[in-house]
């Protein structure tokens, strides 16, 4: 897989804006995560230097929060719930369908960085089981049809942009 192209200038600008503000580590990381889609590992040292922290500390914070990722992810991150309630309501087959539709295994991203497939322990919306999320949007009471139509919607979006 070819490495994801990232906008170095943009990354640098984000880091520079937080320079010297040791307390701003989390907002800084959030901004990188949101703008770039992940936190490029090679930026850890630059971030640490700007904030006067040790690189190992910055890495510790990144790996502590599930919201941060050191690997590039797709534009759309699909998280299928694997919790008990969803399991009972057929979450497994949703996951299976998703794998087939996207052609990805859990944790994988397609070469064009469009989709990433992940699973989570519980999305906290058990009353809607089976559930999944795409980026920040929840989708509940899933069935195969609904899954394909949700996906189609995102695929289309991609086409537009």
């Amino acid at each position: 897989m070819k490495p994801k192209e990232i906008d170095r200038e943009q990354l640098k600008a984000i880091i520079d804006r937080h320079r010297g503000k040791t307390w701003a580590l989390i907002p800084l990381l959030q901004e990188i995560q949101e703008t770039i889609g992940y936190i490029p590992p090679e930026s850890i040292e630059t971030v640490a230097e700007a904030l006067n922290l040790f690189p190992s500390q910055v890495q510790g914070v990144i790996t502590f929060y599930a919201g941060f990722s050191l690997e590039p992810k797709g534009k759309y991150v699909v998280r299928v719930c694997r919790g008990t309630a969803c399991h009972v309501k057929g979450g497994r087959s949703i996951l299976r369908l998703m794998r087939k539709e996207l052609g990805l295994d859990e944790g994988e991203t397609d070469p064009e960085y469009r989709f990433t497939l992940e699973t989570v322990a519980c999305l906290g919306a058990c009353f809607l089981a089976p559930t999944m999320m795409v980026n920040r949007n929840y989708y509940g009471k899933l069935n195969p049809n609904k899954v394909t139509s949700v996906l189609a919607q995102y695929r289309k979006k991609k086409g537009e942009s």
């Binding site: 040790f54 690189p55 190992s56 890495q59 510790g60 790996t63």
Partner: protein, 883 residues
Amino acid sequence: MEDITLTINGKNISCPSGTSILEAAKQKGIKIPTLCYHPDLEPFGACRLCLVEDEKTGRLMASCVTPVAPNMTILTDSPTIKTHRTNIIRLMLANHPESCIVCSQGNRCELRQIAADLGVGETDLYPMPHYTGLEAANPFIVRDLSKCILCGKCIRADHELVVAGAIDYNLRGFKSRPATLYDMPLERSVCTFCGTCLSMCPTGALSLKNEQYVGSPQNESKTICGFCGVGCSIVMGSVDGRVVEVNPSHEQETVNGSTLCVRGHFAHDFLNTKDRLTQPMMSHNGELTPVSWDEALDIAAKQLVDIKKKYGPQSVAFIGSSKCTNEENYLFQKIARVLFETNNVDNGGYMSGRAVLNRVEKRMDGGYRINPLSNIDKAEAIVLLGADPGHSVPVMSYYVKRASRKGTPLIVVDPKKTEMVPFSSVWLNLIPQSDSQLINGLAAMLWKKNSFDAAFIDRFTEGFDVYCEGLKGLNIETVCRDTGLTMGAMEKTADLLAGKKIAFVCGNGILKQRYGIHSMNALLNLLLMTGSPGSERGGLYIPARENNQVGAWDMGAVPDALPGRRDLGIESERKDWERAWQAKISPDRGLDVIRMIEEAEKGSLKALYIMGENPLRSLPRPERVRKSLERLDFLVVQDILLSETCKIANVVLPGAAFCEKAGSFTNMEGKIQPFEPVVAPLGEAKADWEILDLLAGKMGSTQHYGSLEKVKTEIARFIPMYRDLDGHEGPGWVGNKGDRRLFNPDGEGTLIPFTPVVSIEHKDINDEYPFTAILGSQRFHLGSGTRTGQSDRIRDYGVKGEIELSLEDGARLNVQDGDSVRVESEHGFIEREIKLEKGLSEGFIFIPVAFNANDAMNLIGLTRLGGPDSPGWQGCQVKIMKL
């Protein structure tokens, strides 16, 4: 603040508010088990083992993080507590591999001890150990993180004490582990292998890599590290008379607290090398062959005495040791002065820039030269001048980094981007040798801001007005040009320093450079002007490379001063010692190390007695030194290792390493630290003071000491700075006890002179040798590497002392990391691999010393450091060729 009263296990306790329950209990001798608590670290509250119960409320709390509150009734051992504690331990053990039997931590594992105390055997829980690979590629520390209980001590030690930042938690929950950046092995991280984390780990997760011995040592005893001048307090563990491990002594009030550096922690394995000397030897037809002590001492004494009789006192010289004890250096110079009537006595401290330090001694009349390292913490600003303490005196660098993390402004003056630069507020990467211009420039800028300590200047100094005239005449733009620095950087520095008391740390970059004397004069002027000496918030710090560099000088192992740093040239000072020794002392200044080599070369020096130094490795131009020493009629070398110098000696006397004898060292803070032997000398070797005592007898001395105590008593009697050396309350500090200390808060003294501002025109550009080489040390080796080079661990680590080159020059010369080059100066050449470094400016290369038998010494000239014609030993002009 009000004291708080509470009861713990029924005992009434009162303690200041803010004390934790754990500490309060400890003061009363009540023991609470802990795993993540350490008195030197910030409380963390991770393991929950220190749970206690408040009887009134039934509340459970972690005692290490809970402060005392009024009227608490604490129980530390109630049945509830016991149940909880047992459960915690069971959970930890369930998560732990079942390899206690083979674990090197053995009986010292705190987890196992606590489990045993609580009677936890089988955990009855489903075991779910978390297997991670064993990491043991480096020769120092083995990491088996499956045994990690996440107490966080290693991480806190790494961040709070040594401020390295090599490790931090990685990942969450079950997978969480202390990890390096990118989860690399330690050797591929910024870890310095100080081993501080290793000594703190309560389990076998971090353990000492020891090829020769596995398990706990039979004996443990305290001593002082014998490598650098920090003088760390250590505990050495031994088995069958061999030292197998070293840990910080973990006592209060030591210079190092819970920290050490890679040398102190690991390089002691040189003690067991096969090159240790175990019996006296004499040279027969160029071969060293073992002889008896009697024979060796008889010959040594007779030859030296005969040569003196035949050629006079000037024909014999003595090199004492900045690594030997105070007592030994005292006896050594006494032999020279009393029995041989010569002041031809010096020590390895010469190589650490004594000529420049002599300026401090003379100008300040012996005052202000030493400060406790703990004062770094109180400094208002810190300036590192040509000093890279992370490599030379690592424990000092921890002080500096801690201060910087706390917010103390740190200015790094160094042509190289040292490890201290990331901690600095400003990095002044000046052109080498332009330090005096920079210092004068800064002084002028401060003066313009009206930033000087008028009260101090008025009371303790003279000549400020003349100095100010000089400052007035300085053009800062010229200073910028000479130093290669920008006006912005200069201004920022002056702003940071204005109105502050400053701690100046002055390293080899000044002490061994061409204009060292000028730079030191400029520095002392700035020091005085800011009123920094005499205040705990500032002062002068000289990193001492060798463990007893300060003491050897104090004891008079120098050609121009008598013990107690008394000036040989002053008659009354001589008279004092003549009375003490009941002998006549020659008023003639003796030869220093370099002059000894020169005189031997000319044939006028006939005999040399060297104790614990290896000039064939530590001096420039080793071949010239060898030829010169080979011309001697007689050479005695007393050492612990079969050094290069031993190999050309007529008589070799086996001495004892620091941990094999008793005595005292004086560290760079001026703290006199006595110690007792940990193990016995190897084979027939003897403590050096004993050898000297025996030898003096054979040379005709009527005074036989017979015990170290007697030597100490004599020193204490005649050297006021050391008056408590034989006392029982601990000998204390040189600085506080000296009768010549100029400044005391209400004291008077001779006024300290300012010196005029001197501008230096420095031209070094030479077309034939276009590069400027900077020589410097690396933390893995001490001095010339005679001892550390014999450490298997240090050797196995495989640092090769690559020559560092800037990226630009690398591109121009078409070389890459790992390529070999030939570096040539007008004196000689060396060949080594190179490493491209971002932190170097074009035109500069950095050459680590002590590698390859210290071959870097081939590049510089054998000149007298600090002499008017000496280009210094800190660097030279070179050309580079790709091989």
